[in-house]
Structures are given as C-alpha cells and as structure tokens.
Symmetry: C2
Subunit: 199 residues, 2 copies
Amino acid sequence: MAQKIEIWFEFASTYSYLTVSRAAPLLEAAKVPFAWKPFLLGPIFRAKGWDTSPFNLEAAKGAYMWRDVARRAARFGLPFQRPPIFPMHTVQAARIMTAALGQPWSSDFARAVFAAEFARGEDISDAGVLARALETCTDDPAHWLQQAQQDETKAALRATTDQAAALGLFGAPSFRVGDELFWGDDRLEDAILWAQERR
Amino acid sequence: MAQKIEIWFEFASTYSYLTVSRAAPLLEAAKVPFAWKPFLLGPIFRAKGWDTSPFNLEAAKGAYMWRDVARRAARFGLPFQRPPIFPMHTVQAARIMTAALGQPWSSDFARAVFAAEFARGEDISDAGVLARALETCTDDPAHWLQQAQQDETKAALRATTDQAAALGLFGAPSFRVGDELFWGDDRLEDAILWAQERR
C-alpha cells in the first residue's frame, strides 16, 4: 500500500482548479490513497500583510499566471476562462466541502465548484451557484447548505486552516506525504511518485 | 529548425543552478537552439520594495524551497548543498558571463560558477573563486576578469536586466520562445516542447 497523499487546496486558487480536476484518475492509476484538505489562504496571506492574492499584488507575476494556467489547462484538456472576479470569496464553498468530506460525492462537489468558477466564470460566493453544484451531487442540497453553517463545520475549517499555517503551507495546492511537502499543481506527479516509493 | 529558446538566469538563483546544470543535453537531444541571458534579479526585486530574495522574506516559502531544490537536484543527479550565504552578490559573475557570451566555453563557465556556489558552497562574489571557474575554461582568466570591468560590459548587463523587467520577468530561470514566457526550472521541458512544436 502506498502512503496517503493529503491534497490541500483553496477554492480561489487557479492551480488548485487544475489539481482537483485532474488528480482522481492519476491517483487511482497509481493506487495512492488520498484525502482532501480544503483550507483558506486568506488568513495565511493576511498574516504576511497581504490583503489579496500575490497574483494581484505583483502585476508581472499575475499576468504570467493567467497565461500559464490557460496553457496548462489546454494541455490537460480542461476548459478554462479567466473569471471576472479574482480571487473569489470561498469561505462558503470551503465550509460545504468541509461538511461533505465523509460523503462519496465530495470530489464531485469540489470539481463542480471549480468548473463553475474557472470553466464558466461564475461567482462561487453566490449561494445559488453553490446550490447548483450541490444538486449535481445530492438530492438534498438544502441540508448541506445548512450543515455548512453549523458551528462545528466553521470550527473544523478554522482548525484545518490553522493546521495549514502550522505545517508551513504558503500556497495551494500543496501535497503532504508523511512529513514531505510538495507545492503546486506541477508537483502532483512528484508527490504521487513519492507516495508510491514509500509504501 | 525549432524556434530558439532564450534562457534567462541569475547566478544567485537556486533553480537557475538546476537549469544551467541540466539544460544542455536536453536542448541538444531536442535540436533546439538557445541563447544564455544572464541578468540581475536585484533591481527587479528592489523595484517591488524587496531588499533580498523573497525566499528570505517569506520564511515558510524559503524553507520549502531549500527542501524542494535538494529533492530535485537529487533526482537530476546533481550535487547540492545550501551555501552559507544566500543570495550571493552576483554582479561580477554576471559581468564575466556577459563578456564571455560569444565564447565557445561560456556554458562551461556558467556551470563552473554554479557548481562552486551550490555544489561546494563557495562565495562567488570572491574574485579568486571566479578566477578558478575561468581557469577551467580559458588559458587567460585575467583577460576575462578585465573584460568584465569594461564600461561596455557593464552597460550590456544593465541593458539585459532592463530588458528582463520590460519583458515582465519576475524570477529565474525564465524561458522565452518567441513571445511566450515560461518561468521556473520545472517549465524547461515545456519550453523545449513549445520550441519544437513551432519550428
């Protein structure tokens, strides 16, 4: 049995879109077990004094990122457009994902949210957009929208975000295999190899 | 004939060490012509208000970088150690490289400087270290140390650095293929493919 990979991601993150959209078949083929770790980058950025994404704070890096993500999405066969808002407010999406982590459809939900955001440019802070993503996964979207508002769910997302900071995470996606950290969609294959070689 | 790749690099940069050390056989096998573009990241960082590398300014990202570079160097079969000084002052090394760009041994010089810095931890701002790197390439190191101090050489390096900023470069290594920009040692293979597909 290969080691487990934790996939730490943030719904606002373009490179997390690539990872969440393409990871499942790679992990399955490699027989590597995994766990989703939805977290918020906002508190980690604010602790450095940043009030938005570094891609907005650094113009040249931001311009490059949009081109790089478009190029890589094309290579992976994923639809992509630059949404009108970036970064989006993702706390509601992350809370629903946190509440749904035990469900067999949680991967589908994450992919549906990212597709709304980066394939169709929809605002995923909108409750209607999130409800439609849930509708593709479950017969009872209202239940999960409600679960997302429970104190327990809010506390769990806060705890995951605190853990991210404590583990030294500074961007998304990040992959943890044991104590080994990999950062960026372009390290997904490296993380999978690492997990396989340490079974 | 494939398109030409410009390899923009900074002697202080850990990921530039990986690229300069491993690029030649890949480019040769792919029959992709290339040109070295030594430049200085310092002025680009200072324009953002940074007085050192972002890997020093952001502790978590810096800790990750050292681990990531060590892991990738091992995978490429390259010796690596974290040098006692980071980032080093690289203006003299970059001036010598600029003066030597027309020479058949310029690639060897770049590799020798990076090996001193990241394989052996030597200070490449030291004239003796640079002279020893030159000795592996030419019978007349003194001539090239002198060439590096010519006004023409200094102006050429300043012009390359200004051009880097104008092109939107924000880190090293960066690869340019026509108008297409790729950033990071982990995009070297993508840049080579891009150049091959657009012959």
